[in-house]
């Protein structure tokens, strides 16, 4: 071989490696940008702003006869108490600035700094601490998402006052509260404990997480056994004839069908024909089971097929029946492949919204579902819903929910990798 020829060959190889490296770097850069931007926007969503409100739990309003009857206390005029203590703050502000007139607009604007459910926080606090009735207490209640966003620097205050959601007075009020150490920044536990809400500061992800969990549970319970059994039957026991050929081709076709079509199918069959409850994880899970079935069947068949024939021959050669050779030798070796396929199929189902749209699962649902027949939504649907909200505070909720979805997906993929290593091919 002459030298020039060899050189050319080396150059070709170097060029190829270079192109490969560029491609990999590009992928990594895109991934970093994607994850980075989501993280940057989402992390702040896990924090929230609370205001310490000095509240006078007036005996007269709450429990005038001192009966300590919880039901009556529950029904008292909490709004009045909340308003009173909120306006007290405004008065304190005015006093410090020597202003004596409070306009109604000011009151309205000031109220906007507090969560619309402030009164319920005061009520719940009181019910837990019945002794404090008649006293003055400091209760930490969520600020409105406006304050939260302002303090997080998410609102551009350089623009004209009329063009921003917050006016100058409100800013000076917030600064007053900050100076008086009334503002607390804390981890947003509510985000993990509550369902959806119209108020950004109240909205939580738990409903969607539980909904997703139920949906995936239903999908796994249905799709895994059916898929694996079909794969085993088709691969090992079914006669090879026209009918099985047709079935095989159609399973491959099904895997390529757009997911929304499965939604239409589910709408027609599960909701209209069988009358399953709308928006329920049961119906949604069944649709996703249908959708992942082909993936599970195909990957299980590949896993079964890749078990070397010598193992089957060995088993048959010492007189194992077909059934024994399949279940004692082939399946155990195919398990990692089957599990990997299933998990990846389920991960895809977890991120799916289109078919669930048809099942009414992309909906505003406040209550955390208690069972698979309760109305619920799922993580990706929740993300979609929040991203559609005009209110500022939902933006970081969207990103935070995306982070949670990604964490779930990565966990599932990590599980798949772990299983593959754990039961690595041993032949």
């Amino acid at each position: 071989m002459n030298k020039e020829f060899l050189n050319k060959r080396y150059k070709k190889e170097k060029r190829f490696i270079l192109i490969g490296r560029v491609a990999v770097s590009l992928t990594i850069i895109f991934l970093v940008i994607l994850l980075g931007s989501i993280l940057l926007r989402g992390i702040s969503g896990f924090y929230t702003t609370n205001i310490f409100l000095t509240t006078n739990l007036s005996q007269e309003i709450i429990d005038p006869e001192n009966k300590k009857n919880v039901e009556e206390i529950y029904k008292s005029s909490w709004r009045k108490i909340a308003r009173n203590s909120i306006y007290d703050v405004l008065s304190a502000f005015n006093k410090s600035k020597n202003i004596d007139k409070i306009s109604r607009k000011d009151k309205r604007d000031f109220l906007k700094l507090f969560s619309r459910s402030s009164e319920f926080y005061i009520r719940d606090f009181t019910l837990e601490n019945l002794d404090s009735i008649g006293k003055e207490v400091k209760i930490s209640i969520p600020s409105s998402s406006l304050v939260d966003q302002f303090l997080k620097g998410k609102i551009n205050i350089a623009v004209n006052e009329d063009d921003r959601p917050i006016n100058d007075k409100q800013i000076s009020w917030i600064n007053f509260m900050v100076e008086n150490k009334m503002i607390e920044r804390k981890f947003n536990i509510n985000f993990f404990y509550k369902g959806d809400s119209r108020n950004a500061e109240e909205a939580g992800i738990l409903g969607a997480i539980v909904g997703s969990f139920f949906v995936i549970l239903v999908a796994i319970i249905v799709a895994f056994p059916v898929g694996v059994m079909s794969a085993i039957y088709l691969e090992e026991f079914a006669p090879k004839n026209k009918i099985t050929n047709i079935i095989e081709v159609n399973i491959n076709n099904l895997a390529a069908v757009p997911s929304i079509v499965f939604g239409l199918l589910g709408l027609a069959i599960f909701l209209n024909f069988f009358g399953l409850p709308r928006s329920s994880p049961l119906a949604g899970g069944l649709v996703l089971a249908l959708m992942t079935l082909p993936t599970i069947i195909i990957s299980s068949r590949v896993a079964i097929k890749s078990v070397p024939p010598s193992i089957r021959e060995a088993a048959m050669g010492i007189g194992a029946s077909k059934m024994q050779s399949v279940f004692h030798h082939v399946i155990p070796l195919a398990v990692p492949g089957i599990l990997t396929g299933t998990i990846i199929g389920m991960a895809r189902a977890l991120g799916e919204t289109a078919p669930l749209l048809m099942m009414g699962m992309v909906a505003f649902i406040v209550d955390v579902p208690q069972s698979i027949t309760d109305p619920s939504t799922v993580l990706p649907a929740q993300i979609f819903l929040w991203s559609d909200q005009p209110e500022r505070g939902f933006e970081e909720k969207t990103a935070a929910a995306t982070i949670i979805l990604l964490v779930f997906l990565l966990t599932m993929n990590a599980l798949a990798v772990f299983l593959r290593y754990k039961y690595e091919r041993k032949w």
């Binding site: 021959e313 050669g317 194992a320 029946s321």
Partner: protein, 255 residues
């Protein structure tokens, strides 16, 4: 020769893969407790014939068989036969060592277990030890019985497969080029083993190695293009073959 009852007798056997015929009208008898070697050029149908004896060809959909094979008085290709039972009587060792990806112990114990040949664990332990001893592997693996069977050398794996085959106590052992993946030392060990096994088992071995056939077998069958050309005592086939084709093949003029 005909005064002993043959272990296996083949008559008018034809085997087809789809429309292609692989075995042409073979008649032969294989004696009990002897080693019979099958030799012949590649593709002449040795493996096909061997796999007829324990109906491993059933695994191939397109394979069709007519004619008769008798194991003692049992018609191998009769419809009523219990194939599982047949395969416990006719064990098989394959060309490539194919231990199960389980422990050495489980490899040997698997056959007896599924056939219910043992009542309790100690009896099973006994079978495993005896089989490994017969296969000449006991001394080498007795301290690592619970390590994977795929983690030992190729020659040891092949002897493990032999141990696995004899654990079900078969009458016949079929070996399809058992040494082709082994080095000369491992080959010598397996050959020794075959020699010692013939006391208790009827052995049929396919080989491409003339010396091996000459060393281990009592009878040799030479096949060509699916037909049985010559079959007789090994000494005779190798020293004074009757057919020209046989001597051509043995002396290496073709094949």
């Amino acid at each position: 020769m005909s005064d002993i009852k043959p272990k296996i007798s083949v008559s008018n056997l034809n085997v087809f893969y789809g429309s292609k015929q692989a075995i042409f009208d073979i008649n032969m008898s294989i004696n009990s407790k002897e080693v019979t070697a099958f030799i012949g050029p590649s593709g002449c149908g040795k493996s096909t014939l061997l796999r007829c004896f324990n109906r491993m060809n059933d695994l191939i959909d397109i394979c069709k068989i007519n004619g008769s094979i008798k194991l003692d008085d049992l018609e191998v290709y009769s419809k009523k036969i219990d194939i599982v039972r047949l395969r416990t009587r006719v064990g098989m060792v394959f060309q490539k060592p194919n231990p199960f990806p389980k422990s050495i112990y489980d490899n040997v114990a698997y056959g007896p277990k599924i056939h219910g040949l043992c009542k309790d664990v100690s009896e099973l332990d006994g079978i495993v030890e005896k089989s490994l001893q017969s296969a000449g592997l006991w001394e080498e693996v007795k301290d690592r019985l619970h390590e994977p069977g795929t983690g030992i050398s190729g020659g040891q794996q092949q002897r493990l497969c032999i141990a696995r085959a004899i654990a079900t106590n078969p009458e016949v052992i079929l070996m399809d080029e058992p040494c082709s993946a082994l080095d000369p030392i491992a080959t010598a060990k397996v050959e020794e083993l075959i020699d010692s096994l013939k006391k208790n088992f009827t052995i049929i071995i396919v080989t491409h190695n003339m010396q091996q056939a000459a060393r281990v077998s009592q009878k040799t069958a030479f096949f060509h293009l699916g037909a049985l050309i010559e079959f007789g005592n090994t000494d005779k086939v190798f020293t004074s073959p009757e057919k020209e084709k046989t001597s051509d093949y043995i002396t290496g003029r073709f094949g």
